[in-house]
Amino acid sequence: VKSRKPASKLYRSERYAPYVFLAPTALLFLMIFLFPILFVVCSSFVNWNLLKPTAGISFVGFRNFENLLTSPKTWMAIQNTFVFSLVSVPLSMIFGMLLALAVDKLNRIRNSVEAALLIPMMVAPISIYLSFRFMFDPTYGIVNKLLSLIGLTGPGWFSSTDTAMMTVIIVELWRVIPFVYIVMYAALKTLPNDVFEAVRVDGANGVQTFWWITMPMLKPTLLVTAIIRLMDAIRAFDNIYVLTRGGPANATKTIQYLCYELAFGGFSIGKGSALAIIIVLIILITGMGLIRMMNRANTELV
């Protein structure tokens, strides 16, 4: 509190108001931030397996990191995570954006289309993963049944190493295209009207208007949405757990899933912590770059 009021009774009782309001969050933040991060940093340097309680905890230096970074399994997981993120995020951004522009052009049926596109955001993703898992079942799934009707043999989808990642990405797109659309559509509605009037008078066509007017004005929103999407994609876990459990032959194992397996499948706390640190570093490096870009875009606009 910066105000220089005389020390009245009211003022004195309120001196701590900012801290009182922050207390619940600060407490929780200590719990999410400081304690777990310190804990994970410390335990990443030890050999600690909960399944071998007699072995105890012993300091091993950087050996956990060494083991992880020399293991092809880790690099496979890192590669899978990058493929998953770098394909699903741009595709969802492009389709979501195009969808927002298309819905914006509708007249009569717009309300019903809007309502229909909200439904994917209201249903539990786990249910949808189950539905997709059955749809893409190689023998009983509807996709391969339909393909066989037109004389094609469908691939194994989730059960083949060649198509598993692609199928996981298709499911991810189902979940996130509506999200990107909703955000972009809301942003589109907030754009000032007079700019569009002006370019229309100047005779710009639809593509020109989009590229030179709409896109630059939407840039901050696009970037924030891309950051959120990218962060969630790098941490992908639920979809992998329900759809493939990382299989077949590690073809869809993401870093977060591998970390879960190490820490809670094999109960190797040391190795799991070391991988968790690696994930945090990957996320921070990508995230900081994007946040810097976002802040620059914001400053340009203001």
């Binding site: 922050l22 969050t25 929780l28 719990m31 999410i32 052009k105 997709f132 569009f196 929103t221 820490a263």
Partner: protein, 300 residues
């Protein structure tokens, strides 16, 4: 942000502009839905809806009818799968667990989020941008980072398989994003509002409770709905912390596909049941949901 669906005056938004002046639009490209956009719309709508419709249809068919090699369109429909899902041991109690956890997490997040957002928008001199960046970074921390220490602590303190552990874990993970959303909502409430309340003799606490919080109700509702959805769908912490007593609905459904052959009819029926609560909440509070989804990304 919480603008009404139909805008009468075309002051903001290109969508409203056309509604306001359809007469003087002669041959403008945007008034026509092009072939490309039309195709995109139809395909996306189909892509979005087909898995849902198929799931609903298939959940009414017996597993025997589903596991055939032909399309079997004429299979009889019945509610048998739903009956068997509800009869399965632990399914009803896991639904109750999910509801309890989701409500507790939502309550805790709204309390912490509202006080934090008030504090951040009213007291700090650093400004909201570094702050929201910091929170955005918090949001990037993967859940395993919290999962490992909390698991160890929970095990040592004997808190495994309690609501407390699960609620705290989900809250700490959900909170950064909810604060980020709420800062946006609270920043929109003019400071002059609580300043005048202060001049009238309100303390900060009174101003928070009687003046600012009621004005922030739409934002709080939006945040609450998002948190409810988030904790309803939570899988990671549930996998780590839940035992038989606190098992949530997603876990029970995953168990249906655990052993032997998959009983797809029952799995899909359970999936449909899992969708119902959030679907109802979403349909009833549609407007708040949209503002919750777009909060933080769109400056309203």
């Amino acid at each position: 942000m919480n603008e009404p669906k139909k805008k009468i005056n075309g002051m903001n938004g290109i969508a409203a502009r056309r509604c306001a002046c359809p007469a003087n639009e002669t041959g403008q490209p945007k008034s026509k839905l092009g072939l490309f956009s039309g195709l995109l719309l139809v395909l996306t709508l189909a892509f979005c809806m087909i898995p849902l419709i198929l799931m609903l249809m298939d959940s009414l068919k017996s597993s025997g009818d589903l596991m055939t090699l032909n399309l079997n369109l004429g299979a009889p429909l019945s509610l048998k799968n739903y009956a068997s899902v509800f009869a399965a041991t632990g399914f009803l109690s896991s639904l109750t667990n999910s509801v309890i956890v989701a409500i507790l997490v939502t309550a805790l997040t709204v309390i912490c989020g509202a006080t934090a957002a008030y504090s951040f928008t009213r007291f700090t001199s650093v400004g909201t941008r570094p702050l929201s960046n910091a929170i955005l970074i918090c949001r990037m921390i993967p859940s395993v980072v919290m999962g490992i220490p909390m698991y160890i602590v929970g095990q040592r303190l004997g808190l495994q398989d309690t609501y407390f552990m699960l609620v705290i874990a989900i809250t700490t993970f959900a909170l950064p994003f909810q604060i980020w959303m709420l800062i946006g909502f609270y920043a929109q409430i003019p400071k002059s509002l609580d300043e005048s309340a202060r001049i009238d003799g309100c303390s900060y606490y009174q101003a928070f409770w009687h003046i600012v919080t009621p004005s922030a109700a739409p934002g709080l509702s939006a945040t609450a709905i998002m948190t409810f959805f988030f904790s309803w769908n939570e899988l990671f912490f549930a996998l780590i912390f839940c035992g038989n007593r606190t098992k949530t609905a997603p876990l029970t459904i995953m168990e249906f596909m655990g052993y032997r052959t998959f009983d797809w009819g029952a799995i899909l029926a359970a999936g449909v049941i899992l969708m119902v609560p959030t679907l109802l909440v979403g349909l009833v509070f549609k407007r708040y949901m949209v503002s919750g989804l777009t909060a933080g990304a769109v400056k309203g």
